[in-house]
Symmetry: C2
Subunit: 121 residues, 2 copies
DNA sequence: ACAAGTACTATCATTTAGGATACTGTTGAA
DNA sequence: TTCAACAGTATCCTAAATGATAGTACTTGT
């Protein structure tokens, strides 16, 4: 997913389509959180990627960053009302998946065999 | 967006997050369509990419492909009931975007300056 | 004196999605 | 007879997303 055409559905999609964004929202819906706390919550994310996702979401108006200017640093992330207003959509997606779990085949891979090392001489 | 962790919300997201998938569903909600027709509908898509999106969506159970085995070829794509059942979610996303249009800043680019050609000597 | 926690950024590398272009074989229409 | 339409696939390439790893400056706890 890259550019969105002006289609409103795709606009919304673009805001939550980052690999970790749904989970960031999930944790921030519980309560505000600090950077390292989020990194512990989202097991496996690197600080670089977390930083990017947070910055994008902040630019998109989904969350706000409050820097207390202290030393050692203290920065808190929390959802804006715009961010919180996505909750019904996320819940709808969650319920849809749970309801249709059985009908969704597990697609693992393999479209065309393309640039596949095994295929080359 | 790449792998989904087993989180149902992300499962749903993964099914519709391809660059053209929402629009494919949009057109197929109207009526069944053939490959070249879709390519005309989705202005700008290449046949390779269209082929991929359709194949993924078919593997995901969102649409079905019917090959009439004729010559010249005739193949029709239509939504499955699973695919059609996504409509409320897409509408919810559309309405959310329309309702919040004014609050969503236009994010154009520029996170860190990273591997930027202008920055290099 | 040393380690750990704070919030990151820098640099480099890999992976993935998507695009450009050309091509297939057959048919019916101009 | 040459052309477009049909439904794609093959090959190559670029751009975007994400990951791995290391390091910043400062402070509190042991």
């Amino acid at each position: 997913m890259t550019k969105h055409s002006g289609c409103p559905t795709e606009t919304t999609l673009a805001l939550i389509a980052g690999k970790w964004k749904v989970m960031v929202i999930y944790w921030l819906l519980k309560e505000k959180r600090r950077f390292n706390q989020l990194q512990r919550d989202l097991t496996g994310i690197t600080p670089r990627t977390l930083g990017k996702q947070l910055k994008e979401m902040e630019q998109d108006g989904l969350l706000k960053r409050v820097d207390y200017g202290e030393i050692p640093p203290k920065v808190e992330y929390s959802l804006t009302s715009l961010g919180r207003s996505l909750q019904p959509i996320l819940i709808a997606m969650e319920e849809w998946a749970q309801l249709n779990m059985d009908k969704i085949p597990a697609r693992e891979n393999a479209l065309f065999i393309e640039d596949n090392p095994e295929t080359k001489t």
